[in-house]
């Protein structure tokens, strides 16, 4: 009996192993539980691919999404449609990296209580987005594919990041069997996930490089006969502009002048500037990996460089990157990094508050100042100040040629007004002329922005 009862300690050894293993697990619980809860697909946080934690409001306090019990979107159809790509859908076709990024700040997790909360609805996230601006942009883009982005170049708040087409998440169309083409690429968020041939808006890059590296560029005169030959390639202009200075060349978007400037800058300088201005490669913004931009002149001859300098060749830019560049010009050469999440509140605690992050200076202040003047001149002399209400808008249009298709209409710039310090980009696929199609869209959106911001100022 003595022997047997001694040997029975083997059973106790197993029990101790059980306790030891359990202890290890409890230890790893305390270290890792937060990662387990936030892991995509975690059932109490995610519905399908999207996290559901709390209520999401726009900058004016409008409820965009309530996830207390399932996903309840805004009561306004246009708002639902215009914000769905940011908030994600119910079925997992459209994911919401923004919410995933802030999920850990939003749901009430701690290792003691897990996700238990005795006051549901206490988590509120306020976005920098304005539902009104968002809806205005969505309506402006109606019938087109493309994107409109607007942000405060002083703070970095994105007021608008709209993609078209979209749909109402409360009334999901039969996308798979759609033959009209109106839902082509509907699952793509064109603001973050698409890059576009910039066309003439890229002349703002060439101009910046020229202003900083060619000393007499502002006193130069360019001669446009409608076309020219650079490096054996024929550069065709959109008109016969005759004799022009730099301001005139930019205002009329003269391909000959900018082709020549690009060729003079050379591949290396142009490439350097594109990189310095943040237009190449990708960057991450609020959980999104912004679509990669591309300015690749490594194999380019003089003709290619000329085409690249007027935004053709193989140039590609993303909306956030170009928007940030507009911000840099408007803000004296230093861009505020764009963001979407203003604040997360959990009960009485603020668990996240956005801060303005300024980039390194990408342009000399005088370059930014000169570009501002040139862009202001564009609006005053070509696009028409009347379009923009009372706002002092500086802009550049683009008509990006696409082989065998209607050109993409592009429009980018900013407002100088201190009451509405916003930069904007409008990219319209197959829209045709930038100044004719994209500029009026920008005008509408800017008007709404001005209203929203002045209402905010009045409320303060």
């Amino acid at each position: 009996m003595k022997q047997i009862s001694k040997r029975a300690w083997m059973a106790m050894a197993l029990a101790i192993a059980l306790l030891a293993g359990l202890l290890i697990f409890v230890g790893s619980y305390f270290v890792n539980a937060k990662d387990w809860v936030t892991f995509p697909g975690s059932p109490h946080v995610y519905t399908g691919v999207n996290p559901d934690c709390g209520r999401i409001y726009d900058r004016s306090g409008m409820l965009l999404l309530n996830t207390d019990d399932g996903r309840v979107y805004s009561t306004d159809e246009t708002v639902r449609r215009s914000t769905m790509h940011l908030l994600g859908d119910r079925d997992g076709y459209i994911s919401a990296p923004l919410l995933k990024t802030y999920a850990s700040k939003m749901f009430g997790f701690d290792v003691v209580n897990g996700l238990y909360t005795d006051e549901p609805g206490s988590v509120a996230a306020r976005l920098t987005i304005s539902a009104a601006v968002q809806s205005a942009a969505q309506q402006a883009l109606s019938g087109y594919r493309g994107t409109i982005g607007v942000y405060n170049y002083k703070t970095g708040e994105l007021l608008c990041a709209v993609t078209s087409p979209s749909y109402d998440p409360d009334n999901v169309p039969d996308v798979a069997n759609d033959t009209t083409g109106s839902y082509e690429g509907v699952y793509v968020n064109r603001f973050f996930d698409a890059s576009y041939t910039p066309g003439s808006i890229f002349k703002l890059v060439t101009a910046a490089a020229a202003l900083e590296t060619i000393p007499d560029v502002q006193s130069r005169t360019f001669q446009c006969d409608g076309k020219t030959i650079i490096g054996g390639q024929e550069i065709i202009c959109n008109g016969v502009h005759g004799s022009l200075d730099l301001a005139g060349a930019l205002a009329h978007s003269c391909n000959v002048a900018f082709g020549e400037l690009a060729a003079e800058l050379g591949a290396e300088t142009l490439q350097d500037y594109a990189e310095k201005l943040g237009l190449t490669g990708s960057f991450s913004c609020e959980g999104y990996t912004v679509a990669s931009g591309k300015i690749d002149l490594s194999q380019a001859d003089d003709g290619d460089v000329a085409w690249a300098g007027i935004g053709q060749y193989t140039d590609q830019v993303s909306a956030p990157a170009f928007l940030r560049y507009m911000g840099a010009i408007a803000n004296g050469g230093q861009a505020a990094e764009p963001y979407l999440m203003q604040r997360v509140r959990k009960g009485d605690d603020i668990t996240y508050e956005a801060k303005t992050v300024l980039s390194d200076a990408v342009l000399k202040p005088e370059t930014a100042d000169t570009l501002t003047k040139l862009m202001r001149n564009n609006v005053q002399s070509v696009y028409g100040d009347w379009q923009f209400g009372g706002l002092s808008v500086c802009a550049k249009s683009g008509t990006a040629e696409r082989e065998g298709q209607t050109a993409n209409a592009m429009f980018a710039g900013f407002a100088l007004d201190s009451s509405c310090p916003v930069a904007f980009v409008v990219f319209v696929e197959n829209g045709g002329s930038g100044s004719a199609v994209a500029a009026p869209m920008a005008a509408k959106v800017l008007q709404t922005c001005a209203q929203v911001l002045s209402a905010e100022a009045a409320a303060k």
Binding site: M1, I4, A8, A15, L19, Y29, V37, H44, G114, L115
Partner: protein
């Protein structure tokens, strides 16, 4: 009943204060469970280890050596139960055995000096009080203990029984009523089934308590631990499969019958020894029938169907296995080889592997190892068995891609979160979601995952009741193991000791595979957590095994599996 229930639910809905109480309850549950387990642990682990003395051996110098077990190994060795320091006595010399009827035998355990009874050399002989036993020339007399000694001894053994079992059971009942109330509020659609389930469980536990009291058994701690775990099982079923509540309760009742039946069969060692053969044969037959007539469910062919009832024979085989492994000391010393038992175990594990029931095969194998070690104390045999099984296991895995797949996910569940690691990652997410105190009864999500209420039950309990309560469930199993190990030195027969140790090993290994499988410490093998996992056959099995633990419980008047001195003896 429905009226009361509707009224209750309406009242709760209309009283916001009660809803706040609902939030506070999440702290009450682990606290109550802790108190219940501490009380059970106290009475199971702090009892006075007063040995029972069954007779004396009066030596040549007039000294009296107590005989404290029914089966005592006599010899010079330190490991002997009766150590006799004489050079002519062999290290292990003889086995002195007492029987249920109070008769004694002595058996020569291969000594050099031989065993003589009243001057005649014997290999196995009956011994009467007053007989002169001679071991290697040293003479002893077997002397009975007096009634007076017996009385004093019984008194000493009951002196420190301070924990009142009815109070612990009352606390458990409170726990059950609160759990039931919360489940009903959170799952109003199934409230009626849940309420009747809990009422039935409360009736069953108090019924058993009363029954054992009638049989003059005063301790109820082992049973209370089992009922605590069973309660968690009922909570799990209430959320995951409310339609199965009735089935689960029928299984609990059957399990308690199995517990009483096995206890009864163990009360009489002679009866137990006979039933042992029956059980061993029954185990093999059950598995053979399963192999021939079984039905495949969830990738394992371990189900049999009779009429509308389906059950898993492999669960019941565990009881048979423990029976087959148990053995008296006399038998152990007479036949020292393990070959028959190794063969039997191999047959059982082989059948289980053929059925694809890897979980039960692993449990049987570990139990086999423990039994083999208890019986032989020999690590070499066990190492050999391990090597052989490891080899066979590798071969089996080679041929079973399904099992291989499970193993491949092990340790990489997050990389395969949507595929092979789906169950474990959901389990971990839900454990984390529940925190230490749980999301509340019926508020879980994990039950949507396949086999959540069986293989992943640790996570399901964690999610709804909190990690603390899940840890307490494991602690309950560890308490039982500690109790067995602590009470064995006072054990009467090796048969009971081996039975209890192997039964509790089955609990521990099941808990281990279940918890560690769920939490990705080990591969997920699909093993149930004793008493807690949903499953009728497994419930019956674990309750049946509880009888083996009770058979080793030699505390005074504690166990139904141990016969009290009969009226005849008392009269004499």
């Amino acid at each position: 009943m429905q009226e009361i229930l509707t009224k209750f639910l309406d009242t709760v809905e209309q009283t916001p204060a009660l809803l706040q109480l609902d939030g506070a309850l999440r702290y009450v549950f682990p606290l109550l469970a802790l108190v219940i387990l501490i009380r059970c642990g106290k009475s199971l682990l702090m009892f006075r280890r007063e040995p029972e003395v069954w007779a004396w051996l009066a030596g040549p110098t007039g000294d009296r050596i107590p005989v404290m077990h029914w089966e005592s190994l006599i010899g010079r060795g330190k490991g002997c139960d009766v150590t006799l320091e004489y050079p002519t006595i062999s290290r292990t010399h003889a086995v002195l055995t007492r029987y249920d009827d109070g008769s004694w035998t002595i058996m020569d355990a291969g000594s050099t000096g031989g065993v003589f009874v009243n001057g005649k050399q014997q290999s196995l002989s009956v011994v009467r009080f007053g007989d002169v036993l001679s071991f290697g020339g040293v003479e002893f007399t077997l002397v009975p203990i007096t009634q007076e000694q017996e009385r004093i001894q019984a008194e000493a053994r009951t002196r420190r029984a301070v924990v009142r079992p009815w109070l612990t059971l009352l606390l458990l009942t409170l726990f059950q009523m609160l759990a039931c109330a919360q489940l009903c509020v959170h799952l109003p659609e199934d409230a009626e089934a849940i309420l009747s389930g809990f009422l039935a469980l409360i009736a069953v536990e108090w019924g058993l308590f009363a029954l054992l009291r009638l049989a003059k058994r005063r301790s109820f701690d082992v049973e209370t631990v089992a009922f605590f775990l069973t309660t968690m099982g009922l909570c799990v079923v209430s959320t995951s499969a409310p339609d199965s509540i009735r089935k689960e309760l029928i299984a609990v009742v059957c399990g308690i019958f199995a517990y009483l039946a096995v206890s009864w069969s163990l009360r009489d060692l002679e009866r137990a020894k006979k039933i042992r053969y029956l059980a061993a044969a029954g185990g093999i037959l059950l598995l053979a029938a399963n192999l021939l007539l079984g039905v495949e469910k969830f990738g394992a062919k371990n189900w049999m169907q009779f009429g509308g009832v389906s059950f898993q024979p492999s669960e019941l085989v565990k009881i048979c296995f423990v029976f087959a492994g148990a053995s008296t000391l006399q038998r152990l010393m007479a036949k020292r080889n393990l070959i028959l038992f190794i063969g039997y175990s191999a047959a059982i594990c082989g059948c289980l592997a053929l059925m694809n029931d890897f979980g039960t095969a692993i449990i049987s194998f570990v139990t086999f190892l423990i039994i083999a070690f208890l019986r032989s104390g020999n690590f070499a045999t066990i190492a050999l068995a391990c090597a052989g099984t490891g080899f066979a296991g590798v071969l089996a895995l080679q041929f079973k891609p399904y099992a291989m797949k499970r193993f491949s996910a092990w340790g990489h569940v997050w990389e395969n979160a949507a595929t092979t690691g789906y169950s474990q990652t959901r389990a971990l997410m839900c454990i984390a979601s529940g925190g230490l105190f749980g999301l509340g009864a019926g508020k879980g999500w994990l039950h949507h995952v396949g086999a959540a209420d069986t293989d992943l039950v640790f996570a399901l309990v964690s999610e709804e009741w909190g990690l603390l309560l899940a840890v307490l469930c494991v602690a309950a199993i560890v308490i039982l193991a500690a109790f067995v190990v602590r009470s064995l030195p006072q054990g009467r027969s090796c048969f009971y000791a081996i039975g209890a140790a192997s039964a509790v090993t089955i609990y521990v290994v099941q808990a281990m595979l279940n918890v560690f499988g769920t939490t990705d410490i080990l591969p997920l093998t699909g093993v149930t957590f004793p008493f807690v996992s949903n499953g009728g056959s497994s419930m019956i099995c674990v309750w049946g095994l509880l009888a083996f633990i009770k058979a080793a419980d030699t505390r005074q008047n504690a166990s139904f599996a141990i016969r009290l001195p009969g009226r005849k003896e008392a009269a004499a």
